[in-house]
Symmetry: C2
Subunit: 589 residues, 2 copies
């Protein structure tokens, strides 16, 4: 690593602040250019001993040149910088700039960015430039793209401040939109009926190597990111989404897009997921991104450390999740008062698995990003329940929004983030399978229950089985009777452990079901339990969950202890009553 290069960052906000921590960990000297001596980023890393953080706007040429003179590599924490000066600084050999000024300039203009990506085969929404901001031109693009249409500022737009949806082309509506968007060059995008918004962080080094993080679901409100859920799962209701690998698909698309860009660093890639499982790229940020904040706790190497590694040509870090599930909740200013921020943070300290990140901003403003809270946990259900708690402490959020993001489970209905799936070939198996639900309820295991038959709904069964892993299931309990094919067929279409419950049919006492489930060929295992014993199937599923969630292991031990005490209690009772009385008073009741 020696000699370590000095890094200069344009911008001293929270993203710069979060870059200072890995810089300190790796002894990387860092200088921050921003106005003020106490910006979020300047608070958390002293300038190297002989230097000082420059104090000035990150768009000012003399200040950028001052920074460049003291550094080996310049980078940005915001894309609204002066790309011309950065290009000059690099051309003059003053300082390296990563990512390349050309990439930053391209990304600054959302229309050029979209055109560039479309030209390289990246799927994007239909779009068209608005040459001048006149009513006639807007009408023309609306005619081309159809209504509703999204009018967007090409430059200097973030957190929704450059977007105006247009539902009609009457003059008043157009005038209102144009006034909102102000004096900026515009373009338009066709309406995208997405089912989810998705983001992927991608790190790229100078050699062009790219590594992506797991995709996340991003949830916005008033165009500002509020919640981020990692990893992205396929649809939550059984069979709701045919696509089984949306996470992988999103990563591949994001990697492909970033590979086309010049320069090194981390990139945030935002996408739309459509109902048919296809993805459209929305936009790219050439810097750390709010949708990657969870990577600090949840991944082996955070987006921030990987950005530094990339621009310094150090080995790219492991992007994989170190936890089964994670979420990020933004902490937004509610007003000019810091009190709500302090309250949100203090409440979060009592939520197990939550990590509070405040940004050291001295002033609060409504909708200003003041911090975020990351939650990590053993399961989506656990993390989502904690997200619900955290959102409940945010004064600007209503119950409807919270219920959409993190609904409370409803007894007798499938959980939205199940760990166990219970399936059976016919509703006639339900009485045999219900004891499994009682056990899972008793242990607080999130599960779903449905009917799918190997013989009567083969497509539904295959879809169910193929999506089991990407939906987050860790065990499938399948009950079947007679020529009981369901458990084995499901096992052959999934990598999730399948537990087979032989259901006693009208003949052969269940032995037919048992052999059909148990005697699988080498290669495809089914964990078989006793005939009609769905209780043990559920207990086995809980033991499997216990290998990743220690609580379930402890609960299994407690359950065994309770069984032991129950039997010992009965023995005591038997000894006390005598066996004749025991039979008449206890057994016969």
């Amino acid at each position: 690593m020696a000699p370590r290069k000095t890094v200069g960052i344009l911008g001293g906000g929270q993203l710069g602040r979060m870059l200072t921590h890995p810089a300190a960990l790796l002894n990387i000297p860092l200088l921050i250019l921003d106005k003020g001596e106490y910006t979020p980023a300047k608070q958390t890393l002293l300038a190297p001993s002989t230097l000082a953080h420059p104090d000035g706007p990150f768009t000012s040429e003399p200040h950028i040149r001052e920074l460049a003179a003291a550094c080996d590599v310049l980078t940005v924490e915001i894309e609204h910088v002066n790309a011309d000066v950065l290009e000059a600084v690099e051309k003059e050999g003053l300082c390296e700039v990563q990512p390349s000024p050309a990439t930053i300039r391209l990304i600054q203009d959302k229309y050029l960015q979209k055109k560039y990506l479309a030209d390289r085969g990246i799927p994007v929404a239909p779009f068209a430039v608005v040459e001048q901001s006149t009513e006639a031109n807007v009408k023309a693009v609306a005619g081309e793209l159809g209504l509703p249409v999204m009018l967007k500022a090409r430059t200097l737009a973030y957190d929704g401040r450059g977007n105006s949806p247009l539902k009609s082309t009457d003059s008043a509506a157009i005038a209102k939109s144009l006034e909102f968007l102000g004096d900026r060059p515009l373009y338009a995008e066709g309406w995208v009926p997405f089912v989810k918004e998705v983001a992927v962080m991608v790190v790229r080094n100078k050699a062009g190597e790219v590594r992506s993080y797991d995709a996340v679901e991003t949830i916005h409100r008033d165009s500002i990111l509020r919640v981020c859920l990692a990893p992205l799962r396929s649809g939550t209701a059984p069979g709701a989404e045919v696509d089984t690998g949306v996470n992988d698909k999103a990563r591949q698309l994001a990697e492909k897009a970033v590979a086309t860009l010049d320069g090194a660093g981390i990139f945030g890639v935002e996408m739309f997921l459509l109902e048919d499982g296809s993805l459209l790229l929305n936009e790219i940020a050439p810097r750390p991104h709010n949708s990657g904040h969870h990577t600090i706790e949840a991944c082996h190497v955070s987006q921030f450390e990987n950005h530094l590694r990339a621009i310094l040509s150090l080995p790219l870090g492991d992007t994989s999740l170190r936890v089964p599930s994670a979420a990020m909740v933004n902490v937004l200013g509610v007003s000019g008062s810091m009190d709500p921020i302090d309250d949100i943070a203090t409440n979060a300290l009592s939520v197990p698995g939550a990590s509070v990140h405040l940004y050291g901003k001295v002033e609060s403003r409504a909708a200003r990003k003041m911090g975020h809270i990351t939650v990590t946990g053993g399961s989506d259900a656990d993390v989502r329940a904690k997200v619900r708690t955290l959102l409940g402490h945010q004064p600007d959020l209503d119950a409807k929004f919270i219920d959409e993001v993190a609904p409370a489970p409803v007894k007798g209905h499938s959980h939205r983030q199940p760990l166990v799936g219970i399936i059976m070939g016919s509703d006639s198996d339900l009485p045999v399978m219900l004891p499994a639900t009682k056990i899972l309820d008793k242990f607080g295991v999130p599960y779903e229950l449905t009917i799918t038959s190997a013989h009567r709904t083969p497509d539904r069964m295959v879809t169910y089985a193929r999506s089991a892993a990407s939906r987050g299931l860790r065990a499938v309990i399948a009950g079947a009777g007679g020529a009981a094919h369901l458990p084995g067929m499901v096992a052959s279409e999934t990598s999730v452990p399948v537990i087979g419950v032989p259901v006693k049919a009208s003949v052969l006492d269940g032995v037919d079901s048992l052999y059909s489930i148990l005697q699988m060929p080498r290669g495809i295992p089914v964990a078989t339990v006793g005939i009609n014993n769905s209780t043990n199937a559920a207990l086995l599923a809980i033991r499997i969950l216990g290998t990743s969630v220690p609580l379930f292991q402890k609960d299994t031990e407690a359950y065994a202890k309770a069984l032991e005490e129950e039997v010992i209690g009965k023995a005591g009772n038997l000894e006390e009553l005598g066996w004749d009385k025991y039979v008449s008073d206890v057994l016969k009741k």
Copy 2:
């Protein structure tokens, strides 16, 4: 949280540095007292805008008073501070001090500390004070405690600098020890034949509530901590250690000890684990401790954040591990050169799961703590293999030490950190069970294999089953024939999923084994696979592992794909050759 109190820390080394990060995250104003403007801790958190970090020795009264005047709470990152001044500062109402000066003073004198703990029923090694450092007095305590005896400085001892083992009481040996220990008050401890050194971090708030972290195994070399393994496991060889809950026992002991002390903060509790599974408390540090550094990545709330929460009366944080396994490797200076440090750090950047922490120290010295590397992973085996890689890059470590800490696995022998246990009632079952080993080898799963019989070695079986979870096993494959009780009996003594393989005995075609394993009573599940099908037992174990280690899930998918391609290949071959030729050329070979 508002109004947030200002915290002053005595000492500006790496522990202070690691306290600055959570302080920044929670917007806690912090001042560091230490000599110099660029100490490790001062580098990573600017003083609040109107203040400056005081520059002076952390033992100097005027500087402590200056710090106290600017702060609401003082705390320490080193116990060798001036407890009298701290007590005065608190008595005068200048500033609160946490943990209490009385606790710091008690801990500063190792003899008084030990006496205090022993008086409160905490088990410690036999010890005796050496009233004056004379040969006669040393001989007297050696006579009392037996040889060898450990002579220890009562004060100012750390990293082994205050310990001198004495194996004989001849005058030369005593003189040498006394010279080494210098002009400090001494005491002596009886020799402790420990099998492991163990540490537990405990956080205590002002109300006396204590929370412990999982216990860790600490590995020292030349009395300096080198490696820390979390969580502490019971013995690694089957049946080697009867005790099944050494982690819980260590936590309970540490909590009990810390509960007796005054004041709030994090405490590091070091213990010895003896061969019989009992624990002796060695010493307590009233501050963050090297054996808790892994908590930054591995636990929901780090020891550093919990220290701040405790001293500020904020809610204590979740101490649980967020990963299945973690380790910490110290980075020590080798010489005056920084190059070896840079090399160790750079090499670590290529190790997946590793997080590098350098301390920003400007000068290196042999054995100086310059940083540490944390590894988190899905299993002990994975983490240990990476520890092996990391240790291999440390120039002062020899192969023998590395092989002791992280031995390479040996084919055909049990892995030292197994995830799967294969057991059978008799060596005659081995041919049936060997295919399981082939599958586990193919997938790179760490496993152990041994013989234990329900009927012939019932005690051994119970010990094996009861320790399975605390040894880190995530599945047990048990093969048995005839009255096949082994799988079910093991399942009734563990919370780990048990997979039963019915072994076909000499009569009844294995149906007797099958029913004996499968038809378990409600409450105790066994995952049964087909008769003699240990291949499927191993594949099921791998599916279970895949619920916590994503790699195994991906490998299971690849395996199914390969099976599919194999069958399709055979079909193509059959079509090409025709069935008559296929039977004679392919099947008969």
